[in-house]
């Protein structure tokens, strides 16, 4: 909303303008205040709309469907980015298959998204890249709170820290991870900050008191 549009090819004005009457005064002043005045109150998730993804039709998608007929629920593409949704227990074998048979040898990222309203609240996302084919694919799965997905460290070594970060931020424990500790937060910290119910000002008061000697970090 702060992105005011400059008139095309305007001759390098100073960012503050030269004062006086500003041409953008009208529309900006009349713009509705859509941003909540207090961003601390998290935006309520909007349930109705869904992602307008289209089916992903390619050889790789067909291969994967043939290989894992019951485990892959959806193969789609959105804005030219392919992803598949699989059952959580099949993730490791899919990653292994993609690495060994389809040359997806680079695990870019592992992350999670918290959807507290859904019965399976965490969406785990694995982003893969293939150097040979220069393409990306996202492998997604939904897991319930408390479910322990298998660790991908056996397939990609880079999963080690990435899974630790997911554990740190969301509290998802990976079964078979060699060294599952908190990575960014202190080890004794209570709570998982990237869960949606964790407020932005919330913190582990006890830890802050004991270790920093102050009442509150706020």
């Amino acid at each position: 909303m702060a992105d005011e549009q400059k008139p095309a090819g305007s001759p390098s004005p100073a960012p503050s303008g030269a004062g006086g009457v500003n041409p953008k005064a009208g529309p900006a002043a009349g713009a509705p205040k859509t941003a909540p005045p207090k961003p601390a109150a998290a935006a309520p998730p909007k349930p109705p709309a869904i992602m307008a993804a289209t089916p992903w039709d390619s050889e790789l998608a067909r291969d994967l469907r043939d290989r894992f007929p019951d485990q892959i629920g959806e193969t789609s593409t959105y804005l030219g980015q392919d992803f598949l949704i699989a059952k959580p227990d099949a993730i490791i074998s899919i990653l292994e298959y993609l690495k060994l048979e389809a040359d997806f040898d680079y695990l870019v990222d592992i992350t999670a998204v918290d959807w507290p309203k859904k019965p399976e609240r965490f969406e785990l996302v694995y982003i893969l890249y293939s150097f040979a084919h220069n393409r990306r694919v996202r492998v997604k799965t939904s897991i319930a709170d408390g479910y322990r997905p298998a660790s991908a460290v056996g397939v990609h070594l880079t999963a080690n820290w990435l899974e630790r970060e997911v554990y740190d931020m969301f509290g998802i424990e990976f079964a078979g991870h060699p060294d599952l500790r908190r990575i960014l937060l202190p080890e004794e910290w209570q709570g998982f900050p990237l869960r949606k119910e964790y407020s932005i000002v919330q913190q582990d008061e006890r830890w802050v008191r004991e270790n920093l000697g102050i009442e509150s970090g706020q």
Partner: protein, 151 residues
Amino acid sequence: MANLLRKIFLADLFQGLWVTFRNQNPKYIYTEQYPAERPKVAERYRGAPRLNINPDNDETLCISCNLCAVACPENLIVVGWERNEQTKRKDLTTFTYDTSRCMFCGLCEDACPVDALELTQDFEMASYTRDGQIWDREMLEHGPAPKAYRS
């Protein structure tokens, strides 16, 4: 053979020394003698905030639209106003700007429809207290008055 000779005669060492020697030239001095010599900041520099006043009648340019406060990622601007019954406009009463939380991103001045709020070229904003970092309307209109040092 050439390599061996280079090694014996410390060619790499002298090569490096020659570079440092060339850089002895005083035109490469970049040090600024800061308090004595004012650094020249860019025209678009985003420094201390200022609430502009109309030079003709000494009235504020601010129309109390609150857009800067909405645009601010850190929520550090608080605009107070009251409705003027005669002109049916909002009159600015208070304006506080917490410079201690400001990251000088410039979103507030981009949002300002009348160029009242502006980030200026002043960069000396230190204060002895935390409360001193919270600027009220008067401070914003007159700007900080840093002490000028002479060499």
